[in-house]
């Protein structure tokens, strides 16, 4: 059979490929048994062949044809798959295009968003700029206001300085006045003192003089009164004598008339006249003598008084002796000239008495004038007294002045002490300088304070701004980071997609070109075959046209894809540029964030320092507050727990003392009992009492013991119930025992045995000590599984109940499963 296979089969391999297109294009199966359709074309070529064809040949041809058909079908399928592939590619490309378009749109949107953001940022920046400008303007305004204030302050300061200077001048003036006043006061004081002394002296002198004068005048007045009385008496005598003489004269005249009538008595009358004349002469001589006797001293005195008056008027003392002598001489001369001589001249006459009377009147007038003088002197005395009073008033004033002076001196001393207290001041002139310096210092410090305050405020404002900026920047940074991340991922994605797209494109291109080439080849071959067998022309032409159209479509598609690719590349480039820009911005933002972070770190450190300081001061304050134990009674009250421990101690001590006493008495009792046993029944009474007491106590003890027993049994019942219940409920028998460690600390040990335990060794031991429970290591717990569970439940999760429960469940499972 193998030999029978014809050798030209191999070169025919190509034929079916050439022949297949019509079948492929027809998509019709040609059945061998039906030779009619094939007969037509075959008959035209070579009916002899057909006719010669043996069965084998026919079979061969059939096989060839089937092969060719298969090939054609395969090709058709391939083409179909290729077409589908191309369609798929086309769809893919379209999808990609859509995707790219979407991406493009997305990027455009992003761009628009970025622009919007940029605009928003610009607006924000503009706003910030506006705000800052407004702030600047405000600050400038405040600055100008502050300058105005500063100027005002300066003016005020200048005014204050000028006021201070004027005040200082006034002070100096006042000081000068004070010194002047003190000088003048001292001077006046001295002057007044001198005047006072002089006045005192003068007043003493004048008083003494006046008193002497007064005495003298009084003496003189007394004398004058006495004299006047005497003179009056004499006058009366003289009057009487005159009356007598007149009476005698009348009688004489009567006698004379009688005598003339009688003429007889003429001789007698002449004798009588003679006698009478003699008598009259005697009388006159007597009167003159008497007058001489008392008129002399009077005149002398008168002159003395006159002289004294003159003296008092003149206030000048004259030498005494010559004046006395002169006075006496004057008195004598005046007496002789003015008084005594007329009197003596009138002695011869009876009318001389009248003259004497007139002289007396003159004397009286003189006396009156002396009285007036006395009044004058009195007035002068009053004047002197007034002056004295004035001087006293002046003295009181002087005291006041002295007081004021003392006050001023005190003030001066206080000022001096103050001056001493002020450091760097040696004299009063330094004080204003010091004041000025201090004022300057104060002003400087105030200015500094203001400056520091302003700086602080600025700092605070800057801090606030920085914090705001930081926050903004942080948010911006976060946004930018996010954006950057997104854009980076996008870029990566885009790159990937671009690369994939490019690769796809390239592949597609290559595929398409290959396909095109293949198609061209096919066309060419078809054309050739057309040339070979022009029968298929019409069918092939349509196919060719279709293919060409598809080719042209593909070309168009390729061109489109290429243009798309270019566009993509462009957009890619643009995006890259944008990304670079964004990256730059991101870097800037990152730098800004870093600087802000640094600033914030610095501020944070400052804040932490300040807070630490605050905390320290607060702690200090707290410590002080705490330590002292002060409290405000408004919201706190102090309570004390009544402590009877000291009292208890005392009670204990007394109890101990009593016990010792009791012991002693017991000993004594024993001794007594011993004695009693020795001495017989003497203490039976006491013994019975004690035994009764003992019995009573024993009964008590018995009842108490019974009760204890009962309690014990009840407790045992209850505890067993409790244990059983625990065992039933939790699945563990629990045994408790107390231990003591070597260091004396009491420890309670619990041994747990599960009711599902398979052996007696399955025991868990726990130590309970002041609230802490620890598991003890033993054989059972050192098993791998148990130790693992202990590790997990007790060490890690810190739960013993979970461990025991888990163990219960496990042993239960083991029991029931086994």
């Amino acid at each position: 059979m193998m030999l029978r296979t014809p050798p030209p089969k191999r070169p025919r391999d190509n034929i079916p490929i050439v022949e297949s297109p019509p079948t492929a294009s027809d998509r019709r199966l040609v059945i061998y048994e039906d030779p009619s359709p094939l007969a037509g074309p075959d008959s035209s070529h070579g009916p002899s062949d057909h006719m010669l064809c043996t069965y084998q040949c026919r079979q061969m041809v059939k096989a060839d044809f089937f092969d060719a058909l298969d090939n054609a079908e395969k090709q058709v399928r391939e083409y179909q798959s290729k077409l589908e592939e191309l369609n798929e590619n086309f769809l893919k490309a379209e999808a990609e295009r859509k995707k790219f378009r979407d991406q493009f749109l997305q990027t455009e949107q992003e761009l628009a968003a970025a622009k919007g953001r940029e605009e928003a940022l610009k607006e924000q920046l503009l706003k910030e700029v506006h705000d800052s400008q407004e702030r600047l303007r405000k600050q400038i305004q405040t600055c100008s206001e502050l300058e105005v204030k500063f100027r005002n302050e300066m003016n005020l300061r200048l005014k204050a300085e000028s006021a201070a200077i004027s005040a200082e001048e006034k002070a100096t003036l006042l000081e000068g006045k004070l010194s002047h006043l003190s000088d003048s006061i001292e001077r006046e004081k001295k002057h007044f003192n001198n005047e006072l002394i002089q006045l005192k002296r003068e007043s003493k002198f004048s008083v003494s003089r006046i008193s002497a004068d007064l005495e003298r005048m009084e003496c003189r007045a007394n004398n004058a009164e006495k004299e006047s009385e005497l003179l009056k008496e004499q006058l009366e005598d003289l009057k009487k004598q005159l009356n007598e003489s007149l009476h005698q004269k009348g009688e004489v005249e009567k006698n004379l008339s009688n005598f003339t009538f009688q003429e007889s008595t003429s001789t007698e009358s002449t004798i009588l006249v003679k006698h009478l004349q003699e008598e009259i002469r005697n009388y006159v001589s007597w009167v003159s003598d008497a007058l001489v006797q008392w008129i002399m001293p009077m005149s002398v005195r008168y002159y003395i008084v006159m002289h004294v008056n003159d003296l008092s008027v003149k206030r000048k003392m004259e030498p005494k002796v010559p004046t006395h002598l002169q006075l006496e001489v004057k008195a004598f001369t005046s007496c002789r000239s003015s008084k005594i001589t007329p009197i003596l001249a009138r002695t011869g006459a009876c009318d001389g008495a009248c003259d004497i009377y007139e002289a007396e009147v003159r004397e009286a007038r003189k006396l009156k004038s002396s009285h007036e003088n006395i009044d004058l002197l009195k007035e002068k005395l009053l004047e002197e007294k007034g002056r004295k009073e004035k001087a006293e008033l002046e003295l009181s004033k002087l005291q006041e002045v002295q007081q004021s002076m003392n006050k001023l001196e005190d003030e001066l001393s206080s000022w001096k002490s103050l001056m001493k207290d002020i450091p760097g001041v040696s004299c009063s002139e330094d004080i204003p300088v010091k004041f000025a310096a201090l004022q300057k210092e104060v002003i400087d410090s105030m200015m500094k304070l203001g400056e520091t305050n302003a700086q602080l405020k600025k700092m605070e404002v800057a801090l606030d701004d920085a914090q705001l900026g930081k926050r903004n920047a942080e948010t911006e940074g976060a946004l930018a980071k996010e954006k950057a991340e997104v854009s980076e991922s996008e870029v990566k994605r885009i790159k990937l997609t671009v690369i994939i797209g490019l690769a796809d494109r390239v592949l597609q291109l290559s595929v398409v070109t290959e396909e095109r080439d293949k198609l061209r080849n096919v066309v060419n071959e078809i054309k050739k075959s057309k040339n070979d067998d022009g029968g298929n022309e019409t069918a092939n032409q349509t196919l060719i046209q279709e293919l060409e159209s598809s080719l042209s479509k593909k070309d168009c598609f390729i061109a489109e894809l290429e243009s798309n690719l270019r566009e993509q590349q462009e957009t890619n480039r643009r995006q890259r540029v944008e990304i670079e820009l964004l990256n730059e911005r991101l870097n800037n933002e990152a730098r800004r964030i870093k600087s802000l972070e640094r600033e914030s770190d610095r501020l944070r450190s400052e804040i932490s320092l300040l807070e630490a300081k605050k905390a320290r001061t607060y702690q200090l304050l707290n410590t002080i507050k705490l330590g002292h134990g002060d409290f405000s009674s408004a919201n706190t009250k102090v309570l004390r727990m009544v402590n009877t421990l000291a009292v208890d101690n005392e009670a204990k001590q007394t109890i101990e003392a009593l016990q010792t006493e009791l012991q002693k008495t017991k000993e004594k009792l024993q001794a007594v009992e011993e004695l009693k046993s020795q001495s017989g029944d003497s203490g039976k009474l006491v013994d019975s009492y004690i035994s009764g007491k003992i019995l009573q106590l024993k009964e008590q003890i018995a009842t108490l013991e019974k009760r204890e027993e009962r309690y014990k049994t009840v407790f045992a019942d209850r505890i067993s119930v409790f244990r059983r219940a625990c065992c039933e409920l939790f699945g563990y028998k629990i045994v408790m025992d107390e231990n003591q460690r070597p260091n004396g600390i009491p420890v309670t040990r619990f041994t747990l045995q599960s009711i599902y335990a398979q052996s007696d060794d399955e025991k868990l031991e726990f130590e309970y000590e002041s609230g802490n429970t620890n598991i003890m290591a033993n054989e059972y717990t050192s098993q791998r599984e148990i130790s693992r569970q202990i590790e997990i439940f007790i060490r890690k999760m810190n739960s013993i109940p979970a461990f025991t429960a888990n163990l219960t469940v496990e042993s239960f499972n083991r029991r029931t499963l086994s």
Partner: protein, 207 residues
């Protein structure tokens, strides 16, 4: 299991009050032992706060401290306690020699709203341990108590607290011009206890 571990870290007002009042009991015992107010042989060792602590066996003192801690716990739960002061005085003269000051700040929100806070027992125990160590080491700098002494406990409470039967109002028993040493503090997140010991200035030091 998980709920158990979470439950460990949550602290309630009652739990906090219990911890603080227990702390006062142990602190009082420790002070009485370390300052020699009661004889050494009347104390026994127990383990607490990871330290060997000494507890008095004197029945009077025991019952006194038990009553004290019970009352303090009550006040702490009500949030009425501001401060507890253990005063050590000379028995002969009654002069105040030392004041052990435990000032308490209570979280008002917990008392009012009954919310709970989170803090692990271990952390609180560690803080208390530090204070106990400081109390034990305080004998190194506190002046010697030569005379026999007695102690007294003062509680600074809110004014609206009714005075219990075993308590009376008292003066604060202050020390004039005291020396102060601040010890550690502990915080249960509900009660914060600041410890401070103030004592009488030693005249020898001043000279």
């Amino acid at each position: 299991m998980a709920s158990k571990t979470i439950a460990k870290d949550i602290i309630t007002l009652r739990g906090s009050a219990a911890i603080v009042s227990e702390f006062f009991g142990y602190a009082a015992n420790s002070i009485l032992y370390n300052r020699g107010v009661y004889p050494e042989e009347s104390f026994v060792k127990v383990k607490k706060y990871g330290l060997p602590m000494l507890l008095t066996q004197d029945d009077g003192v025991k019952s006194f401290i038990a009553n004290l801690t019970a009352q303090l716990s009550e006040w702490l739960e009500a949030g009425k306690l501001q401060r507890v002061v253990l005063v050590i005085m000379s028995k002969a003269t009654g002069e105040v020699l030392e004041r052990w000051n435990f000032s308490i700040e209570t979280d008002g929100e917990v008392v009012e709203k009954g919310v709970s806070r989170e803090k692990s027992d271990k952390e609180i125990m560690r803080e208390i341990q530090a204070i106990m160590r400081q109390i034990a080491s305080s004998i190194t700098y506190l002046p010697c108590l030569d005379d026999s002494c007695v102690f007294d406990v003062l509680a600074y409470t809110d004014t609206d607290v009714a005075v219990p039967f075993t308590w009376t109002e008292s003066d604060p028993k202050l020390i004039a011009n005291p020396q102060m040493v601040k010890l550690h503090s502990f915080d249960t997140k509900i009660h914060k206890v600041d410890t401070l010991v103030s004592y009488k200035n030693d005249e020898w030091d001043e000279q």
